[in-house]
């Protein structure tokens, strides 16, 4: 192939963005130096990176391409008081001091825009189609919903991006997951991604940049698309992405940190060219039918262990391979569930609405719609934690907070909260929670706590009934 035809060879979206960010590839080296347009930081994975920078006598190369948020271990109540946990307080103060020292934009604890980093960054317009973005956080893939390469890294790589505005990377393989048709009523982006992870397993996407495509994906709002890309990592894929279209541009237009006016319009023309070329070849293609997807509930201790709400807790013996059987058995033991129990008979102690998976306005609207005119079941404690201050304000202006509090939910300040329970919001050993977040690992919501992942509407319905129900049969008020 001559270079001319290579230049015109059909490319995937991942290839296009990769190629346009290539800084240098040494001869014979299979990793490259890739330019990183934007870095996001939070208090938990950045302190050692800033410290490393200082120790080496370095400075951030482009502080204007870095933003930071306090989200992981911030309390969701009593924000006017100092943080009670001295270690968490120190971490929050450390981020504040680092941002000040190096001139980095910080969304601080009591700023109205503060919230979970993956909610705040798009909301504020830090996320551009066609760009590269990293963050010391595995759910960074969320931003790929806007058509960019967004990946999670460790802290050493946070330092690397701070110091050089680049990362050394090996190109990933590409996978396209196409979902044909339309999701049924009551079936959401969360159910879609839980279904896909179940089919691919927790490691099925490892080594791949995954592009989600097809009619069911195109029909999703930006919130829904972010929910899908957010969980790409739960099947092992560091990168999840969706081609930008009018839905994307509409969402981004006018965001505070976004290009404005003519500049924005010109950028849109460029962004339209990002979609994978029609005849681009992916290393792997997988196709699903949206009609097969139903509301999902996880029963185990990894996000791939889910079934339809109409199913029963599976029999470990029903799995093909011995590894999966062993894991299912251990999971059922941890979750204190018996094989054969209908999912709708699983009783709950807690319901958690929030996180970077489902903490956006659309999620609270869906949950409020279910809750309207109902009360949370006796014995269930339910908290609603907006993904950001902006989401919170929007929900309040629509009167949603009233619906939540009338139903008996606690209406909290934004943050990661019970999604990883680094702040005071956590389960006690043995407690069982329906959560809208992304991980049901052992102890994720508190040592000995048990998590079932579901969509916001499913979580709200479960809060009312005290056990899971099929939200497709819900009587709305």
């Amino acid at each position: 192939m001559n270079s001319d035809s290579a230049a015109h060879a059909p490319k995937t979206m991942y290839d296009k963005i990769w190629d346009s960010h290539l800084v240098y590839q040494a001869p014979g080296d299979d990793s490259v130096i890739l330019y990183i347009d934007q870095l996001l930081c939070h208090e938990v994975t950045s302190p050692q990176a800033f410290e490393g920078l200082r120790l080496a006598g370095r400075k951030p190369r482009h502080p204007d391409r870095v933003m930071a948020v306090q989200d992981h271990d911030v309390p969701t109540t009593d924000r006017d008081k100092p943080i009670a946990d001295p270690i968490a307080r120190k971490q929050v103060e450390t981020l504040r001091a680092n941002c000040k020292e190096f001139g980095i934009r910080l969304y601080d604890l009591n700023d109205v825009e503060q919230g979970v980093i993956h909610v705040v960054a798009p909301e504020q317009g830090h996320v551009k189609p066609g760009s590269t973005l990293t963050c010391g956080d595995s759910h960074t893939a969320t931003h790929g919903a806007f058509g960019l390469i967004a990946m999670g890294t460790g802290t050493s790589e946070v330092e690397h991006v701070l110091a050089t505005q680049t990362l050394r990377q090996k190109k990933m393989k590409t996978m396209r997951i196409t979902i044909n048709g339309q999701l049924g009523d009551g079936v959401t982006a969360k159910d879609l991604i839980l279904y896909v992870i179940n089919k691919l397993t927790t490691a099925g996407g490892a080594g791949y940049a995954v592009e989600f495509a097809g009619e069911a994906i195109r029909s999703l709002t930006m919130e829904g698309r972010m929910t899908v890309c957010n969980m790409a990592i739960e099947m092992g894929a560091r990168v999840g992405m969706i081609a930008p279209d009018e839905t994307t541009f509409e969402y981004l237009k006018g965001r505070p940190q976004m290009l404005q006016g003519d500049e924005f319009d010109q950028a849109v023309e460029e962004w339209k060219k990002l979609a994978s070329d029609q005849d681009a070849v992916f290393d792997k293609e997988i196709v699903f039918d949206a009609a097969d997807i139903q509301p999902r509930v996880t029963w185990g201790t990894n996000p791939a262990q889910s079934v339809n709400v109409t199913d029963v807790v599976p029999e470990p013996e029903s799995f093909d391979n011995i590894e999966e059987r062993k894991m299912a058995k251990a999971a059922l033991e941890y979750m204190d569930l018996k094989a054969g129990t209908p999912i709708t008979e699983i009783k709950l102690d807690w319901v958690f609405l929030g996180s970077c998976t489902n903490g956006r306005i659309e999620d609270f609207r869906a949950a409020a719609k279910v809750l309207k005119g109902y009360k949370v079941c006796d014995g269930v404690r339910a908290i609603a934690v907006p993904g950001s201050g902006i989401v919170k304000r929007q929900a309040e202006s629509e009167g949603l907070d009233k619906i939540f509090t009338d139903a008996g939910f606690e209406w909290r300040e934004p943050g990661c909260s019970m999604c990883l329970a680094m702040n005071p919001d956590r389960l006690q050993p043995g407690e069982r929670c329906a959560g809208t977040s992304n991980r049901n690992f052992e102890g994720r919501m508190g040592k000995g706590g048990r998590t079932h992942l579901v969509s916001p509407a499913m979580a709200a319905a479960a809060a009312v009934m005290g056990h899971f129900v099929d939200v497709r049969n819900w009587k709305y008020n």
Binding site: D30, Y35, T45, D73, Q91, G154, T155, H160, Q165
Partner: protein, 198 residues
């Protein structure tokens, strides 16, 4: 970073898949702003019975025969979950120099190379064989040679493993990534000029 060339050590088997980073270091220990001292939090929920660090005698690492293990043998998808580098910091600080597994989560694998220990990828069959050998020859030692990409024991085992050249070089020499990249600062500058980045 500590360099790695060759290591001989005792193997501790952990017969599990999907060992996630929440298990490697639970979140309550992520609030520290230091990089060191994470070893005692490694596998906290499995390793201790309570918050006072009372050891769970059942847990592999606490068994007397595995106290001095420096090589961790596990199954597939090791290190899945969160990107926290606290997990690699804990592994290194505990004293592990090698992990053997059939696959790793991408971010964890990447993070490992910045912390001076070696994650070795072997096939599921090879891993199975190592579990059997460990049971048969306990206390079981392996020698892991990064220069020649080989894993050997005293009973005739001789495996080769794959690892990309760049990562191998960095580990062999204990190089610092940022310093390496900054050798190409002129290329970064040229890229920024060409893209109007100032």
């Amino acid at each position: 970073m500590q360099a790695f060339t060759k290591h001989e050590g005792l193997v501790v088997p952990m017969d599990r898949s999907d060992i996630d980073t929440d298990q490697l270091v639970p979140k309550q220990f992520l609030k520290r702003v230091e990089r060191s001292g994470f070893g005692k939090f490694l596998f906290f929920d499995w390793r201790y019975l309570n918050d006072d660090y009372a050891e769970n005698p059942e847990f592999e690492l606490n068994r007397p025969e595995y106290r001095d293990a420096t090589i961790l043998l596990a199954r597939r998808n090791f290190g899945c979950g969160s990107s926290r580098e606290h997990a690699p910091w804990a592994i290194a600080d505990y004293g592990f120099r090698v992990i053997l597994a059939s696959s790793y989560a991408d971010i964890f694998y990447n993070n490992s190379f910045k912390n001076g220990y070696l994650p070795v990828k072997l096939s599921e069959e090879q891993i199975e064989d190592l579990f059997e050998r460990e049971a048969r020859f306990r206390p079981y030692k392996l020698t892991v040679d990064l220069v020649n990409r080989r894993v050997t024991d005293e009973h005739g085992l001789d495996l080769t493993f794959e690892i990309d050249d760049f990562r191998r070089d960095c580990l062999l020499n204990g190089w610092d990534d940022v310093g390496l990249t900054l050798r190409y600062e002129d290329k970064i500058l040229a890229y920024e000029k060409a893209h109007g980045i100032v």
